[in-house]
């Protein structure tokens, strides 16, 4: 729940900043930095379950200011100065948007088109959230919680999550995939985008969260609510994502089988095993509506979860689908402790938006039809 999250994250960050003498360490321990504060004397010991496996349980967030793909000319690592600039800019924009409105301000020249930002280079989250909400924005800043920190792995800030291919970019689609996606899109082109509920996005229909939150791959949505709970037993790992209360049940074991190809599941079917202290999970049988970058039917995602400190899980994944991507690709990020409650995200039950989006378009059409009729006697 964003209201509580935003508030509580602020409180936690403030409290941590007060406790630690180094502001950097304070922020790291509090939020998305995720590295163990090295100045604390006690060495970190891997927490373990009763059966001796690394304990991944708890509530986690993968919110971050680092995108999946870095810019075409960027290298894997950002300088610490650049990372801090992005973080400062993010804070500055949030404070700017949180500032009280002037009640005496004049109406905007053109409805909703004015959404001023402080001067300076926008972060990539500002750019994508502008695209999502239009000039007026879909949400007040109060509801947004895209992340406050740049991803740092081994203390070094990252420009992007993709580590293979070495250029940090998701490989190109195969010609087959481009053709397939074109064929799939063609029948839809005869419709207007608000003609039918099936033409709206999965999140708008409350079928999944924004982006690829539960995935796999499990990625931040750069918007809000990137919160997870993990519960672990000797033969299952359950991962629940707060947004749309979706659950992945990962079966653990050596002789487990995937269902027949005809069984297609949201978030796929996941089988996991322990390789030393790393949980390795392979997922196939994805639901046809849940395409990840155009991949679904032949998509296989391999995830590796490794606890790497008191406040984080290192998460690495490889995406394979020779019918979609010209090469397999791998990325890594962190899940950081999220010391808050997870709330019920009853999306569908409160989904007035989908009916209103479609109904609004019908009302507009009706009004336009009446307007064209009127001049006639």
């Amino acid at each position: 729940m964003t209201r509580a999250t935003t508030f509580n994250t602020t409180v936690v960050a403030l409290a941590a900043a007060a406790v630690f003498t180094s502001p950097k360490l304070g922020v790291d321990a509090a939020s998305e930095g995720g590295q163990a504060p090295s100045s604390i004397a006690k060495p970190w010991v891997m927490p373990r379950t009763a059966d001796g496996k690394p304990d991944l349980q708890g509530t986690w967030s993968n919110a971050t200011l680092t995108p999946l793909e870095r810019g075409p000319k960027e290298s894997l690592h950002l300088s610490e100065e650049e990372a801090e600039r992005i973080e400062n800019r993010t804070r500055e924009v949030a404070e700017f948007r949180d500032a009280p409105s002037d009640p005496d301000r004049p109406p905007p020249a053109k409805g909703g088109d004015e959404r001023p930002l402080p001067p300076g280079d926008p972060t990539f989250i500002e750019r994508i959230s502008a695209a999502a909400g239009g000039a007026v924005g879909g949400y007040n800043n109060f509801w947004l919680d895209p992340g406050e920190r740049v991803l740092r792995i081994d203390g070094k800030p990252r420009a992007g999550m993709v580590i293979d291919p070495p250029d940090g970019r998701v490989p190109a689609l195969t010609p087959e995939a481009r053709q397939r996606m074109g064929q799939q899109a063609a029948p839809r082109k005869k419709f207007g985008q608000f003609d039918h509920p099936e033409l709206r996005g999965l999140a708008e229909r409350c079928l999944t969260s924004f982006g690829s939150n539960l995935g796999p791959p499990m990625l931040p949505n750069y918007f809000y609510n990137n919160n997870y709970q993990i519960v672990q037993t000797k033969d299952h790992v359950m991962i629940m994502t707060e947004m749309v209360h979706d659950v992945r049940v990962i079966r653990l074991g050596d002789n487990l089988q995937y269902p027949p190809k005809s069984v297609r599941l949201w978030f796929g079917d996941s089988i996991g095993r322990w390789e030393g202290d790393t949980l390795v999970v392979e997922t196939t049988n994805f639901h046809p509506l849940q395409e990840y970058r155009g991949a679904s039917e032949n998509l296989k995602v391999t995830e590796r979860f490794t606890r790497n400190g008191p406040t984080s899980i290192h998460y690495r994944f490889t995406v394979e689908d020779p019918t979609t991507f010209t090469a397999p690709w791998t990325a890594e990020l962190l899940f950081n402790t999220f010391d808050e409650m997870i709330y019920e995200y009853a999306c569908h039950e409160g989904n007035y938006a989908l009916g209103n989006i479609l109904g609004g378009e019908r009302a507009k059409e009706k009004r336009e039809a009446e307007a064209t009729r009127k001049p006639q006697p």
Binding site: P197, L207, V231, H236, M238, D246, V247, E349
Partner: protein
């Protein structure tokens, strides 16, 4: 036992001889052998409730004792009531299986006004039952939906994932304090009472139902569930329902939970949101399907 006996006596006095047989038989059927330490799986000394579970009863159709009937939505007919127009095409598939009820004492102790609302709900089932719209089932309805659910129990956590609508409950093992918001599934806090896992849930709003027969509650609802393993593959489940907004006293439902024992038993997926889009949004299509 004392209260069961008392309820049976009340039923005997209050109803005819046939009903008496009916009601006295029910608590006896509901009784299970007490759990023994020897035959139940354990985790850190406590019963190990991990697994995929499901009820086998007609509680989701109607918590109270009921005969089989032609449909959930009915309308007056020339001789006897007949299925409502909207459900005629379902034929026998849309009919209601009978059941002896799961309510201790046989009848839910509604206030007269609340009983009237229950009957109105039932008469307007198609428009009002949240299940029809694929809304979250609430508690305890999630338990006896005709779908399995999976318990995840560890040293530090207890969670239940339900197949129906992907409903989920985290059972807090440490009380986080009063619920901050009212929700469909409430806020649950669990504790061990000997070998019984007891879950207190509150923080509900008033929108969920208890079954397809219009049984309802207010935001004052408080549910106390007791999960007691009676064998490797059985849990005796009790839910005590308190809601001064609609009930004259607390009341209890009891039923066994059965482990899904088949090889490879697993939680399925029933994300029904997609399935109700035509019902909820079909009217807003550019060209509604006739």
């Amino acid at each position: 036992m004392h209260s069961k006996l008392r309820d049976a006596v009340v039923a005997l006095v209050g109803a005819g001889a046939m009903a008496a047989v009916f009601y006295t038989a029910m608590p006896v059927l509901g009784q299970q052998k007490p759990a023994t330490a020897a035959n139940i799986p354990r985790l850190n000394g406590k019963p190990d409730l991990n697994g995929v579970w499901q009820t086998l009863n007609t509680a989701n159709w109607d918590l109270e004792a009921h005969s089989a009937r032609p449909a959930l939505a009915m309308r007056p007919g020339p001789i006897v009531p007949v299925p409502a127009k909207e459900v005629i095409a379902l034929g026998a598939v849309g009919s209601v299986p009978g059941g002896m009820g799961v309510v201790e004492g046989g009848e839910i102790p509604y206030t007269p006004e609340a009983r009237k609302k229950k009957e109105e709900n039932q008469a307007n089932w198609l428009e009002r039952d949240p299940e029809i719209k694929c809304y979250l089932p609430g508690v305890p309805r999630a338990t006896y939906m005709p779908f399995p659910f999976q318990i995840f129990q560890s040293n530090s956590a207890f969670a239940i994932a339900y197949e129906y609508a992907g409903a989920y409950r985290n059972i807090y093992l440490k009380d986080p304090g009063p619920p901050q918001v009212d929700t469909w599934m409430g806020q649950s806090v669990g504790r061990w009472d000997g070998d019984t896992f007891v879950v207190d849930t509150n923080g509900f709003h008033d929108q969920s139902w208890f079954d397809r027969s219009g049984n309802h509650h207010t935001e004052q609802l408080k549910v106390t569930e007791r999960y007691t393993m009676t064998g490797r593959d059985h849990i005796q489940y009790e839910a005590t329902i308190e809601d001064p907004g609609v009930f004259t006293r607390p009341w209890k439902m009891t039923m066994p939970l059965y482990r899904r024992v088949e090889t490879g038993a697993r939680l399925g997926q029933f994300k029904c949101v997609e399935f109700v889009e035509e019902l909820l949004y079909g009217q807003y299509r550019k060209e509604p399907i006739p």
